[in-house]
Symmetry: C2
Subunit: 233 residues, 2 copies
């Protein structure tokens, strides 16, 4: 067996090959939901890759809920049915890296929801953490410092207050990618930071008053420029 060090992309490509192999194997062995996959050792031999590569590919499929491995027992096909499994495998294999436009579009969608839910469901504790995030942002802005991080942390605080763990998780997934792209494209205009602060304060007030309509509108106003920026790409 040959030994090579792979780059990240080759690595990802290898995972996809293994995933495709697993899919085909499930199909022509006609494995039903709940059936046991061949052992990691057998797979690594059959596919001519290392066992750790097989394990990583299986972990990825576990993340998407397609497989489930039990210690000292085996790896099992999840109870989602063969058709769904095939469809999802193909989707996963076809996944492309997120572009900036899709990230911003998704962020706006999520945040217009989180802000409404937060206005409806926020606890006093949520208010406190949002307020402290807002204060941190304010201090940076008034000192004329860069405040991209504090900006996004305020938004994450809103996401936490929205009482929906799934949306919160998704906000966490996209936030670092958003930050990276912000820095890459220099989206944030420092001259506008005072205005951004005002908008944040308005959003916070609306959530505090539990005024869902106003909260959503304030967030929309807040995103106007980002929205324009996104669709000019």
């Amino acid at each position: 067996m040959k030994l090579e060090i792979l780059t990240k992309n080759e690595h990802k490509e290898l995972h996809n090959v293994i995933i495709a192999n697993i899919r085909d194997l499930i199909n022509n062995k006609n494995l039903e939901p709940g059936d046991k996959l061949p052992s990691e050792r057998m797979l690594s031999e059959k596919f001519e890759v290392s066992r750790s590569n097989v394990r990583e590919a299986i972990q990825k499929l576990e993340f998407y809920g397609i497989l489930k491995s039990k210690p000292q027992s085996g790896t099992f096909v999840a109870d989602i049915g063969q058709v769904a499994m095939n469809g999802m495998m193909d989707d996963i294999l076809g996944l492309e890296d997120p572009d900036f436009k899709s990230l911003v579009e998704t962020r706006i969608l999520l945040e217009l929801k989180t802000v409404r839910l937060a206005a409806k469901r926020r606890t006093d504790e949520d208010l406190k953490s949002m307020e402290s995030a807002l204060e941190a942002f304010k201090e940076k802005v008034l000192n004329n410092e860069d405040a991209v991080q504090e900006d996004l942390l305020f938004h994450l605080a809103i996401a936490q207050a929205c009482g929906n763990s799934t949306i919160n998780r998704m906000m966490l997934i996209i936030t670092p990618e958003i930050i990276n792209n912000f820095e890459k494209y220099h989206v944030c205009d420092k001259n506008q930071s005072k205005r951004r602060l005002k908008e944040h304060q308005d959003i916070f007030e609306a959530i505090k008053e539990q005024n869902t309509q106003k909260a959503k509108q304030m967030m929309k106003d807040h995103f106007v420029e980002l929205y324009k920026y996104c669709y000019n790409l």
Copy 2:
């Protein structure tokens, strides 16, 4: 070093401990964005866990974009800033498993968007794959068979047609969990399947005609019962 086999939950808990340790280490060593983390060997020794556990925790943080490891070089703190890093670490540590209500709420949010975008952006190729998914669903329904998988695959086909890779990825993430809960709670009523088929056909027609308003409305109608179900939990 003691050897134990951990359950999935203990495993997750161990990851969280390691993540918290890494966070603290970054903080009191005052590592800046772009700085190099101590090597995996050092970390595993310092935290008194195995190196593979450290690697898994690092992989998780890489998934969220907080760390970045380079082969033969080291693991680096991402360029998202110390404040954002701390905030995100805490959020990740506080993540709870998704409840059914949050899943459904998120799904509805995402799908009301995907259907509009799909109506606007669908290519002829998209139409073909949606149509074949619809056909598969139709056949099952007319034969009075269970069609949960085909149902969701039609929705995934719409997500693929929406031209937003981030939203598409999120649909993929929640779909298996949705399927599992559908089966657990027996949400799908077979008596309603004929009606579901009609609704799917309406949605497909609206997307075909590129009528975004109608597409959204049809999807809303499609979700009426699911929505009610979700809020009665």
